[in-house]
Symmetry: C2
Subunit: 361 residues, 2 copies
């Protein structure tokens, strides 16, 4: 069994993802220690509307989650509650143990904020940072990665694309020396489900309303429909996997609306599928990214994706095309992305356990 | 840039894969040092028919490859050439640097030999071992992994299934704490190409002869056709990913022959595809593995695989179904599997570089 490393966790944001994360840590506490050599203890929580708490001796995070869900405040959980997220992050500096800031705030996806400020503050405080937000990698990857390197801390964001399905960790950990020449994927679930509904002859508004009722589509679905969500993910992927310097604004973007119903049905009648495809390619020494509806032949792996499925096709020099497919996403997967990043942080803190197949001893 | 760790490589087997491996190391020498912190030097080569060589100061491996391809012998490359593979492996013990045995011999796939003996000897000599052979993981995974743990060395075999596409490294490195409940896949290229030819109305012998001429199918294709190759891979996957104790003999196995043409064409006529599917599932406290032709609906990711493509669907507890698809395999990918395992060995030898997105500093 690898020696256990204690990590102090500071949660910035405590919504659905943050609360599922602390419960998942609880459910997998023994495995986290036995397989990954990690003891994770929540010492701080910052929320926007339910107060903040900080206790270097550890907080009962699942009790805090229940309190927030009951509409209560965290302010009386600790003697000197932090004034807010940045105040809480600054307290990471005082810990003798490695600190990890877990960032899950609601994103202003047009600016990447406040996630970027939180990541920058965490790195400045000497904390590792893991986030489920795509903003930091989409808008400021190279700056933040350079700052993290200089500070000797990790900056990880597996949950930014396709939830907990390994994408960034896949390339970094298992495809050393491989050059990513480009990619294409279906990485926005709302638009994929809408297109599937339109193919079946449903009305745009009907499908959208059903998805909103099921909690899949946002109350304001415009960021999904106009391709912005996919563009932000495309920028993050291009920046990290292809060393591009893009923001979502640089992605050539075409979304979908009710008028897409006719071409979607026509494609299906020809045995083909219309999908909102995100892609990037190297062109004239730079990287160009696009999001647009594309009609795909039936044999294309992206054409076969059911409504809830996502997939990313990586075009590589040494391995040809490598595709990873997510059957369906859920909250647990997003929370798991944070856990897998946490294990990656642990691995860089000490000699990793012997590499022998599946389970570490 | 991570500090470079020098690794002494001992090549056991020097056929197409072994020779492509040394050339790939040469082609990526700078990246291997800059990105992975590794300087790899071949100090020994053992062949079955072209002699052996050992020089602690390093051999010119690409020159040795050219010599073997010209029909020459390696016996005069070093002053006291080893008598054979096991003699060469034993010399690893004398090195002050970490040694890695790179095992690529021709496999007796019904017994897993001589690869298993080579792996065992390498571990006993205190060397890490990477192999492209499926035999060791299919027949003796738990024994060898336990021996490797006790000796503090790595035992890796990414190339055993789907060439260089990360499977074992995917689960071990990027899916910590995830439990693999089962899997199903198309993992034998010869049978997949034959089935595709039969669907098009070609005769069994015609497709097979074309594939043999192209070097895709073996001169004796029986191990592919009767499902044995897929069964060995299934045992390896089940042993490593699901902690099973199987050998290929325990896999319930149905292969394909000329009689499969009619059901393959009939399936296609119904808009479905017949594929040779390898699978495993947990059942009554144990793991059961199967290889058999199965008719799949058009929407199934395995149904969409073109002849040269392979794919594996992992059924997991936390991430639902995760599928990885290989577009097509080639010799470079198999050689790359050994390189990626070599980098995994390097990572366990020292503090890994900071984890920040794609490229390590």
């Amino acid at each position: 069994m690898p020696e256990a490393v204690e990590l102090d966790l500071i949660l910035i944001g405590f919504g659905h993802v943050g609360r599922r994360f602390v419960r998942l840590l609880d459910e997998r506490r023994d495995a986290l220690r036995a397989e990954a050599g990690t003891i994770a203890r929540v010492v701080g929580v910052a929320t926007a509307r339910h107060g903040c708490a900080f206790d270097p001796a550890g907080l009962d995070a699942t009790a805090a989650a229940a309190r927030v869900e009951g509409g209560g405040s965290l302010a009386d959980l600790s003697p000197a509650p932090p004034a807010g997220a940045l105040d809480l992050i600054a307290r990471a500096r005082a810990s003798a143990r490695p600190s990890v800031v877990v960032e899950t705030t609601v994103l202003d996806v047009r600016a990447g904020q406040p996630a970027i400020d939180h990541v920058r503050a965490a790195i400045a405080a000497g904390a590792h940072v893991v986030t489920a937000n795509k903003g930091p990698a989409a808008f400021a990857y190279h700056d933040l990665a350079a700052a993290a390197r200089a500070a000797g801390v990790a900056f990880l964001f597996e949950g930014a694309v396709m939830d907990g399905i390994p994408i960034f960790n896949l390339v970094r950990e298992t495809m050393p020396l491989v050059r990513i020449e480009g990619f294409r994927g279906v990485i926005n679930t709302t638009t994929n489900q809408i297109l599937a509904g339109l193919e079946r002859g449903e009305a745009f508004d009907t499908v959208l309303a059903r998805m909103q009722a099921a909690g899949i589509a946002e109350a304001d679905p415009s960021l999904d429909l106009n391709g912005w969500d996919a563009a932000a993910k495309t920028a993050a992927l291009a920046n990290v996997l292809m060393d591009a310097r893009l923001t979502p604004h640089a992605i050539q973007r075409t979304g979908i609306g009710p008028a897409i119903a006719a071409p979607a049905k026509a494609a299906l009648a020809r045995g083909r599928r219309l999908k909102l495809v995100a892609s990037a390619e190297r062109r004239a020494g730079t990287v160009a990214g696009r999001v647009e509806p594309i009609e795909l032949p039936a044999g294309d792996v992206l054409a076969g994706l059911d409504g809830p499925a996502n997939a990313l096709v990586l075009k590589t020099d040494l391995l040809g095309e490598v595709t990873i497919v997510q059957g369906a996403g859920d909250l647990t997967q997003t929370a798991y992305a944070l856990v897998s990043d946490l294990v990656a942080v642990r691995r860089r803190l000490g000699a990793p356990p012997p590499a022998s197949g599946r389970r570490t001893p």
